[in-house]
Amino acid sequence: MATADEIRELMRTEGAAVAENTQGFNTGRYDSVADLEDYEELKRAARSIKEDAIEDLPDLLDQLTETVEANGGTVYIADDAADANDYIRDVVDERAADRVVKSKSMTSEEIEVNEALEADGVDVVETDLGEWVLQIADEAPSHIVAPAIHKSRESIAELFNEQFDPDEPLETAEELTHFAREKLGEQIVDAEVGITGANFIAADTGTMALVTSEGNARKTVAATDTHVAVAGVEKVIPTVADLHPFIELIGRSGTGQDITSYVSLLTPPVDTPVVDFTDDETPLSEFDSDRDFHLVLIDNGRLEMRDDEQLRETLYCIRCSACSNSCANFQSVGGHAFGGETYSGGIATGWEAGIEGVDVAEEFNDLCTGCTRCVNACPVGIDIPWINTVVRDRINRDKDAPGEWLVDGLTPDEEDDGAPLQKRFFGNFETVAKLGSATAPVSNWLAGTTLSRRAMDRILGIDPRRDLPTFERETLVDWAASRDSQVAKPERRAVLYPDLYTNHVQVERGKAAVKVLESLGVDVVVPPAPSSGRAPLSQGMIATATDHAERVTETLGPHIEDGRDVVVIEPSDHAMFTREYERLIDEAAFTSIAENSYEVFEYVFGLLDNGASVESLSTATGAEIAYHSHCQQRTLGLEAHTVAVLEDCGYDVVTSDVECCGMAGSFGYKSDYYELSMDVGDRLRTQLRDDGVQDRPVVASGTSCLEQIDALLERQPRHPIELLAT
């Protein structure tokens, strides 16, 4: 695992460049996909092409092999990295090549072909400018699309000036680019073999698509007579026509460009003559196009992933990097912390677990907080947080149960397969909360003492700089039980779900919600209910989460049958009911709870829309307010409802648009991640301190967002429902 020290160091050295670039790409993505009329349709098409292709993969591989061979090329399916490298070394050796030029390819990073060829004395030159910078600096890529994203212009200039000692020191991006272009241009025309990746390969014609902006892939192919394309077996799609959605989506998703400068559609060997670039006599057309083509398709664990129900989706990935760019943690630390041996970002967990093993994925898996901001960004609809959760669960199961008295006492764990202590503590927070309320205020005082904070830090890894939640003696459920419904002739009937925090800690927002709903003519009950399972799920304790899910649906089921709607205050719990439960419980139970659950403002919005009067709520006239929505709420498309209701009530609302507050539940409490959490939070703080925002009271929907904002700002935030209660 990247230690707190490593994370701190990376934030210091690479953080600024990574943040600027990833956020630029991410904003570009939003702008660019907004121009697509049929964005969702294209994503669905892309997803379904990949689903079918992976389903039919063995047949497609056979078909592709036939077509490529009929075209005059060779196909080699390599079991693993060593196998692929042996084959490529033979090709290079047979061509008696002194120099190989490469166009950036993650798959060749995966097999480390450079090292293999260099060991044979071959000069290997990366032609992608960013990749070349890293080759010179002897560093690994930190991003799947923009490998040198962590390097600033200044550091590249320093590197070039030191390495090449040019007459005039290089400084501007123009100068650096021009210098690299000249240097690389010479080496490209001088090379015998060109290695490229392939973004997609159509089985029907053997046409491969290569997506680049610089033109280096084109040169790599055109200027050499032997072309080796290296790609994972998952890159095969049935037809050239299937390329359409990907061409529209890949650049937009990755860097926010509508399309990259060049999409090469090559059916090698290509007709371009192979020329001698020093020849001053022979016209171009008189050179022949005697070209050799080798397609090396790499399995390296992929076919096993195809049989793995949970990891299979990883193979749909088109390596666009949208998941990384939209990830708040990645925006702070980049792929050098948030990545494995080859791949980085959220989806890297799936790739590294599949091709390298769960232990490699473990090193960075915890950096996924499950906020889901990547989910809608992914052009092929991969549920990336779920893959992270599954892998986390597998990592937990690999571990021995530590069996510490403290946590065992506090958290009788249904999951006897041994998640680490800290994970079990956070995963079983329900027990802690119950105990906390039952013994408040003593529990609050006890938790706040220096001695216990030290113990919590040492044993559980809870950062002493974090304020702990303050438990209320009277829970929301107790309060509700002690009063009668205020609605004589109800318009609707609802059950307000008492999530852990609302019930034990933020009881005020629960009371406010009950009052607001009642003002709008809703009869409300607040029965005791198990916690949603969000906490154990975040820790990768899927069995425990499933148990919660089953108990929640059993508890709420009779209320739903009785005609009550389920209203949920905490967005992450609402997301459990409408998103994650699909993975945990049977279909009928999931459909019932998902269809009948509403986030509290979504519900209020619906009531107002159906004729309830805003007059029965507490309204304001033009009062200014700043609103921070919750990550999972935004993913579900529910931010707009809160904004609309607040505006209806007379507020002038500005909203934050940073992807995540940086807390994401337990993540921000952990000592290892405290600084990262604050770094992410800093972006939110900056927005909330902007001109015109700095004096606005802040409201936020999520528990963890409220805690994070509380830590970030002087202004104490509230849940927006508290504004509406009369």
Partner: protein, 173 residues
């Protein structure tokens, strides 16, 4: 037709690609005006006014040597298709080395017949699908100049041309 062309030209403009339009009879003059010498080129396949258009009356060296190619500033080739919504050009890879001529230069001048403008990417890919299925073949979908952001800011002209100019040849004149 007009709307395809208008959206194509709008997209080119957004990409920083310059456009000129001409008739078949004025094509030589348009090419002459568009190139910065030294210029090399590949003559279009299409016949102009029943005669092969050879670029001979222009300052463009057709079928240059590799050294002349590397010394050239401008490369003139035909574009097979234009793609309206993206301002992309579909460049083919011929045995006349059009790929080298369009790539190893600072300025690429593309000759595009108006009738070859497709409305959108979907239509263009469908056409390529058909062609690749019949004849195999390769193509480049080129959109704007070559570019990189790897050196800390967006710079045009990474490995490929830094300028692109499109000459649209109008039909039937």
């Amino acid at each position: 037709m007009e709307s395809k062309r208008a959206s194509f030209e709008g997209a080119l403009e957004a990409l920083g690609v310059t456009v000129a339009s001409t008739t078949e009879s004025e094509l030589e003059a348009a090419v002459t005006e568009a190139v910065t010498e030294p210029a090399v080129g590949v003559a279009p396949d299409e016949a102009v006014a029943d005669e092969a258009f050879s670029l001979t009356e222009t300052p463009v060296t057709v079928d240059p040597t590799p050294v002349a190619l590397r010394e050239a500033t401008t490369g003139v080739t035909e574009a097979e298709l234009g793609i309206g919504d993206y301002g992309s050009l579909v460049l083919s890879m011929t045995d006349q080395a059009s790929e080298l001529v369009s790539l190893f230069v600072e300025r690429h001048v593309a000759i595009l017949y108006e009738e070859d403008i497709q409305p959108d990417m979907d239509a263009a890919v469908a056409e390529l699908d058909e062609r690749f299925n019949e004849t195999g073949g390769s193509a480049i979908i080129a959109t704007g100049p070559s570019a990189t952001a790897d050196m800390g800011a967006l710079v045009k002209g990474a490995h490929g041309p830094r300028e692109v100019h499109v000459i649209i040849v109008e039909e039937g004149v």
